[in-house]
């Protein structure tokens, strides 16, 4: 993700590397931890967060995760500028973002991606490993560290604040 500044809205890419799942309650806790200056459960600097809460992992052999598509990104909007300020680089989710998030993406040179919404079964193919790193008590809202290969992304808000949905 070193070339973030070169990505433009609408561009499709396949990402391989590490991403962390975090959704509503995990965001609330991360924001509280930042405010209290506590240690975060993973290195936020240059990280990518995936708004996702997978199903239970099927018991059959070879499956490392269950269905794992994106959840609605806008629910995380109130926490996102703070996370970007503290080093978060990219986000993966579905749907639109608030003007505040778009401004923060521009300011901190971040990026927001979409991935195929409502296609959680298909997306599980691109996940090679999954490990709980924090907030296990939150069940499906725990933070997982995922190693992904060729995970399909579409640039939705680029580092210049341009949006795929055409908002100014």
């Amino acid at each position: 993700m070193k070339k973030i500044n070169t990505f433009a809205v609408g561009q499709e890419l396949l990402f391989s590397g590490t991403i962390y799942t975090a959704r509503d309650q995990a965001h609330k806790r991360l924001a509280e931890a930042i405010k209290k200056r506590s240690r975060l459960p993973f290195e936020l600097k240059n990280s990518i967060i995936y708004y996702c809460g997978p199903t239970k992992t099927p018991k059959d052999k070879g499956k490392v995760i269950g269905s794992c598509g994106p959840t609605t990104s806008s629910r995380m909007d109130e926490f996102t500028p703070l996370l970007l300020k503290h080093g978060l680089r990219g986000m993966i989710g579905k749907g639109s973002r608030s003007p505040e998030v778009r401004d923060a993406i521009k300011k901190y040179k971040g990026i927001y991606f979409l991935t195929y919404a409502g296609c959680g079964a298909l997306l599980s193919k691109y996940i090679k490993s999954a490990k709980t790193v924090a907030y296990g008590d939150l069940g499906p809202e725990a933070i997982l560290k995922l190693e992904v290969k060729d995970f399909p992304l579409i640039v939705a808000i680029d580092a210049f604040g341009g949006s795929i949905y055409g908002e100014a």
């Binding site: 309650q25 996702c52 809460g53 997978p54 199903t55 239970k56 992992t57 099927p58 018991k59 059959d60 499956k63 269950g66 269905s67 794992c68 598509g69 959840t71 609605t72 990104s73 806008s74 579905k94 749907g95 639109s96 979409l114 195929y116 919404a117 409502g118 296609c119 959680g120 079964a121 298909l122 599980s124 193919k125 008590d137 939150l138 069940g139 499906p140 809202e141 399909p152 579409i154 795929i164 949905y165």
Partner: protein, 273 residues
């Protein structure tokens, strides 16, 4: 009286949880394939292809169609000549819990909406109707909350024009925009009371998608698709696959209208015992 054991109901619900979450409804698949054909934009076509591939992959690999396996809703039509041996509500909730555990679905339910806390598999929402006959019809709907969050209720004046109602429905869908996994299936409940219009809108989603739609439904679908929100909100002619309206008598002083949106992964299954 025909006797039906609650255990049989529990087992049937477990099976319906499996069917609904792993096999996309045939009518939804047909509508999605039709949408794929009617899109000319490359982006929209690509997304619809991913949606269709996802349904096929879910079926083959026994993976849930969507990770949001919803809050379960169970619609029960109980024949008045049926005698249920056992606790019906407990059997339904147990059936959902067993189904969701057995098939590794998601524990998205929290007991207290304010203090939140541990994620569980149940309870589900149960709607019962007493009908004629000696059978029980069970319908399970897995309703994800990305789309449930976009629901709306408006209490219109009884003198409201049909255009005002149409505008409200179309605006509700446009406000959902790209967030709730379009192309949508839109349920509309008209009439009854505030609470029951919501149930009607939800029940409208259970109706099979077909070409047999009313003039009002066709008008609404056309207007919604004019928005060009399209699959995943990236543009296209398929913002909704269908609009289903369900009406019920109401009071002289009112005209409640509820809108309940379903994402493209409309997951339900039925059985008659």
């Amino acid at each position: 009286m025909r006797k039906i054991n609650a255990v049989k109901i529990k087992d049937a619900i477990t099976q319906l949880c499996f069917e609904a979450n792993f096999f996309l409804r045939q009518d939804v698949l047909i509508a999605l394939r039709h949408a794929f054909k009617t899109e000319s934009k490359r982006g929209a076509k690509k997304i619809l292809k991913a949606i269709l591939d996802n349904a096929a992959y879910a079926k083959k690999e026994k993976l849930a169609i969507c990770q949001d396996t919803g809050m379960g809703l169970v619609f029960v039509e109980i024949g008045q000549e049926v005698n249920i041996a056992g606790d019906l509500k407990a059997a339904i909730n147990k059936g959902v819990e067993e189904g969701y555990k057995k098939y590794s679905l998601r524990n998205s339910i929290i007991r207290d909406p304010l203090s939140r806390g541990e994620s569980l598999f149940s309870p589900c929402i149960i709607h019962t109707d007493i009908v004629k006959g000696d059978k029980i019809k069970l319908t399970f709907l897995a309703k994800g909350f990305g789309c449930e969050n976009k629901s709306q209720l408006k209490m219109f004046k009884p003198t409201a024009k049909i255009e005002e109602i149409k505008k409200f429905v179309v605006e509700t869908v446009c406000n959902a925009g790209p967030d709730a996994c379009p192309p949508y299936i839109v349920g509309v409940g008209i009439g009854a009371t505030a609470d029951y219009s919501g149930v009607l809108a939800k029940k409208a989603l259970l109706r099979k998608i077909s070409s047999k739609s009313s003039k009002l439904e066709q008008d609404l679908l056309k207007q919604i698709n004019k928005s060009k929100i399209g699959p995943m909100g990236l543009g296209g002619v398929n913002t909704a696959l269908a609009v289903h309206v369900q009406a019920y008598p109401t009071h002289i002083a009112g005209l409640p209208v509820s809108v309940n949106i379903s994402c493209h992964a409309l997951r339900s299954a039925s059985v008659i015992l």
